[in-house]
C-alpha cells in the first residue's frame, strides 16, 4: 500500500487516445485517401510582444529562426514551429524542450523586451490529416482551403464545425489541426463522419 502511494507519477495521455483505433479505420475505409493521426504533445508557449519593438528579433535569435511577420503564417525553427496568431501574439512550439524549460527560455528573452511568454502546452492537442485533407476539412470549415489560397506556410484560427481550431498547412496533402482537448473528441468524430463521404463507391 505504501509503495503504491509513493509511486503516483502522472503520465500525460493524448485526449484522443481512446479514439486511436477509430481514427485508424478511416484510412482503410477510404482506401488510403485520408489518414488521421494523433500527434505527440509538444511544449508550447503563447508569446505576447510588441511587433514594432526589438522583441521579435531578439526572440528570433534565441529560437534560431525568424518569427513569421505576415498575418496567418507560420515558420519552422530548429526544434518546432512559430505561428502568428495575432498582431502581437505568437504560438511557439518545441519538440525538444520540456514545457517548463521552453517557457523559461522564451519568457526570459521576451520579458527583456517588454513582452511575455506563458506555457500553453496543455491548451491544444494535435491531429494530423494526410491525403485528401483539404477536401475532408471543407465539410466543416468555411475557409478557402484550396492550395492556392491556403498554401504551405499558412495557418488560420477558424471554426471547424462548431469548434474553434487552429489549422496549420504543412503541404498540399498535409494539414495539422490544433484543437482544445475538450473539443478534440467532437472534432475527431466530425472528421470520421465526414470521411464517410470520401469512401470510394463501387461503380454500378
Amino acid at each position: 500500500m505504501a509503495d503504491r502511494m509513493a509511486d503516483r507519477t502522472l503520465t500525460p495521455t493524448h485526449p484522443l487516445a481512446d479514439r486511436r483505433g477509430l481514427l485508424a479505420t478511416v484510412a482503410d475505409e477510404t482506401a488510403g485517401a485520408v489518414r488521421l493521426e494523433l500527434e505527440a504533445p509538444v511544449a508550447a508557449v503563447d508569446l505576447r510582444l510588441d511587433p514594432r519593438g526589438t522583441g521579435p528579433a531578439a526572440v528570433a535569435a534565441a529560437i534560431g529562426a525568424a518569427l513569421p511577420s505576415a498575418p496567418d503564417t507560420w515558420t519552422a525553427h530548429p526544434t518546432g514551429a512559430a505561428l502568428r496568431l495575432g498582431p502581437d501574439e505568437w504560438l511557439l512550439t518545441s519538440t525538444a524542450a520540456s514545457a517548463e524549460d521552453w517557457e523559461f527560455h522564451v519568457d526570459e528573452v521576451a520579458a527583456a523586451h517588454g513582452g511575455m511568454a506563458v506555457d500553453v502546452s496543455a491548451q491544444r492537442t494535435s491531429l494530423r490529416v494526410r491525403g485528401a485533407a483539404r477536401e475532408l476539412l471543407s465539410f466543416g470549415c468555411a475557409l478557402d482551403l484550396r492550395p492556392a489560397s491556403f498554401p504551405a506556410g499558412r495557418c488560420a484560427q477558424t471554426l471547424l464545425g462548431q469548434s474553434g481550431v487552429l489549422l496549420v498547412a504543412h503541404d498540399v496533402d498535409d494539414l495539422q489541426i490544433l484543437v482544445r482537448p475538450s473539443f478534440a473528441a467532437y472534432v475527431a468524430d466530425l472528421l470520421v463522419d465526414a470521411a464517410g463521404e470520401l469512401v470510394p463507391q463501387p461503380v454500378p
Binding site: 495575432g86 468555411a142 484560427q157 477558424t158
Partner: protein, 86 residues
C-alpha cells in the same frame, strides 16, 4: 452567410465574430457626479440610425482582436474598411 473583413485575418464568416455595440461611447469623465438618469443614458441608450453606424466587432473565433467598423444598417454592407483599435 455574410463575410466580415477582419483587419488582421481578412474576410471571414460572420459566425466567427461577436458584436460589441455602438463604437465611440466615451466613459464619463466623472462617473460619480452623474445623476441616475445621466448614468442610465450612458449605460443603456444607444443610437439606432437608419444608415451608416460605427460599431465594435470582435473576431472571437479567430485572432480575438476588437476592431471598429462602419456598417450600413439598411443593407448590412460594411461601408469603410475596418480599423484595428485596442
Amino acid at each position: 452567410m455574410q463575410l466580415i473583413a477582419c483587419p488582421w485575418c481578412g474576410p471571414r464568416e460572420e459566425i466567427e465574430f461577436s458584436y460589441g455595440g455602438q463604437a465611440h461611447v466615451a466613459y464619463p469623465e466623472h462617473p460619480a457626479s452623474l445623476t441616475d438618469e445621466q448614468w442610465a443614458h450612458f449605460v443603456f441608450f444607444r443610437d439606432n440610425p437608419k444608415g451608416p453606424f460605427a460599431e465594435r466587432w470582435s473576431h472571437s473565433a479567430g485572432c480575438r482582436r476588437w476592431f471598429t467598423a462602419v456598417r450600413d444598417t439598411r443593407t448590412h454592407r460594411f461601408v469603410s474598411p475596418p480599423e484595428m483599435t485596442s
